[in-house]
Amino acid sequence: MEIATPPAAASLAPRSAAQAMVPPSRFGDKAFEWLTLAMAMAVVLLVILIGWQLWRGSSLAVQKFGFHFLTTSTWDPVTEQFGALPFIYGTLVSSFIALLIAVPLSVATAVYLTELAPLWIRQPIVSLIEMLAAIPSVILGLWGIFVMIPWLRDYPFPLLKRFFGWTPFFSGPIYGTSMLAGGIIIAIMILPIITSVSREILRSVPNLQREAAYALGATRWEVTRIAVLSYARKGLFGAVILGLGRALGETMAVTMVIGNTPQIAASLFKPGYTLASVIANEFTEATTDIYLQALFEIGLVLFGVTILVNLIAQLLLKTLTTTSTTRAVQ
């Protein structure tokens, strides 16, 4: 090894001819910067273009129905009456059910995989979860129709009705295809992404944080609570948002089990319809201009709902994290 030259001035001067002969070129840096900038802008441009295209494609419908499109519930192509409210409702409710089921499951799985599971079992579980993500939506939908729905109809739904039938959410006749079934199938579809992102987040919690808690005599659950989950909560929230994004736009499997009835019903046993499902189901039969435009507008609404939900989530995150750090002790 070479001995370092002590004085600073001496080390700046070229020490050999070879070093002096190659002036560093700035061209590579510039090219790299422009290239990455172009790539980043392309993504932004794509989002803007999609939004604009949806807007253009639905301009007639927007003019004709105006704000009523969002607030009315009639969807009748024959009389050319189009109201998107049941679809908005269906999308939000089914996604909410999905989050309610998937978030605890995924975060618990991630905690188990990073904090508790024996090392040899971790990789097999991770691989299985990734495999779940690789199942095509339509296959999951078929499974939903032929396996999940009959089972739900025969066992869990009657149980839910027996114990919670007094609430409006679990009352009324049980058909099988329902809002609840839609939510469950979405939950299955967003489980892998929330789990794997949460797992990465939890893995990135410094060990020093865990040690700090252990050194205070914390048990494993306490360590997980005060050092791991609390440290990672921002990231976990991000994982949930990612899952929510997927849930809102999930199409095929939901379409196959949700029942495709545009109605707003309190009971989760009743069929529903989502924004994505109606586009998938009806665009081939949209023969009139206004019908097609209305479907385009549904797309625009889905686009807007997704953006809006993400914005709200980020605002929520911001307020949550600022209030809890300033919570006083005394």
Binding site: S230, T326, A328, V329
Partner: protein, 282 residues
């Protein structure tokens, strides 16, 4: 993270008046000694990190552990509160007695050991989502203390002991990570002191700090000695000389020499110790 037995909410621990019954003395208590380490060897899988170390750690004194990187200093320190068990596949042979009680007896809960033997780390690690005040009292909260008045008193007392009270008393609600590096390290000391441990282990507590912050921590260690037994690992020979009463020199997992700091630094009996202290290797 193996072999951790979950702590049960033990009223004796919550009240801090009495030690849990399962830590009953197995040998005669030796008042001036806090730890008696007897023929301890530690393995990480197949690798032996500590090889047959026997040494006594005196109460109300600072014992420094020195040695080159990888000599097992940290492992040795961590075996005093069973923190090394967090690494999978560790194995311990020999006995570590704390006030005469075997820490590795099968009935002892490591969580309770760690409440009695506090620890401060190389890098300060306050909990970033908690305020300064919450950071200090979190250990008490884990022990089930709910009395707000008691918590506030202990909060102030711990911060005063860590010589941090005057600097943060108006900012207790601010995030623990808003402090400077040296302040954060003192916050971590306050956090460790708040549960009133018997011993404070310090794993190179100043290695990430500037000289002024280091001086403050050293001063603090000197003051804490009156009430606590302190065991510290350090890379810094001058620091060991300044702050410790006893020094243990470890090399390749073996205890080469142990004695009063004055003796180790002025008249070591082993050639290896002398070589290390004078900077000829390590």
């Amino acid at each position: 993270m193996v072999n951790l037995i979950m702590a049960s909410p033990d009223p004796a621990v919550v009240e801090h008046v009495e030690r849990p019954a399962e830590l009953s003395p197995t040998t005669e208590p030796a008042p001036p000694l806090t730890f008696q380490v007897k023929n301890v060897s530690i393995w990480y899988g197949e690798k032996r990190a500590i090889d047959d170390v026997t040494l006594d750690i005196a109460s109300n004194a600072v014992t420094a552990i020195i040695g080159p990187s990888g000599c097992g200093k940290s492992t040795f320190l961590r075996c005093l509160n069973r923190m090394h068990e967090l690494v999978p596949k560790t194995r311990v042979e020999g006995r570590v007695l704390l006030q005469g009680e075997d820490l590795y007896s099968s009935t002892v809960d490591p969580a309770i050991v760690r409440r009695r033997v506090g620890m401060v780390f190389q890098k300060s690690n306050p909990f970033p989502t908690m305020s300064i005040g919450e950071n200090v009292i979190i250990g008490l909260r884990l022990n089930g203390v709910r009395n707000q008045k008691f918590l506030n008193e202990r909060l102030e007392k711990s911060l005063r002991m860590a010589a941090l009270w005057d600097e943060v008393k108006d900012d207790l609600h601010k995030s623990g990570t808003s402090l400077s590096g040296g302040q954060q390290q003192r916050l971590c000391i306050a956090r460790a002191l708040a549960v009133e441990p018997e011993v404070l282990l310090m794993d190179e507590p100043c290695s990430a700090l500037d000289p002024i912050a280091t001086a403050k921590i050293e001063e603090l260690i000197y003051e804490l000695k009156a009430q606590y037994t302190i065991v510290t690992v350090t890379h810094n020979m001058q620091q060991a000389g300044r702050i410790s009463d006893f020094t243990a020199f470890l090399y390749m997992g073996r205890l080469i020499e142990f004695g009063s700091t004055t003796k180790i630094f002025t008249n070591p009996s082993q050639k290896q110790t002398e070589d290390y202290i004078t900077g000829r290797f390590g």
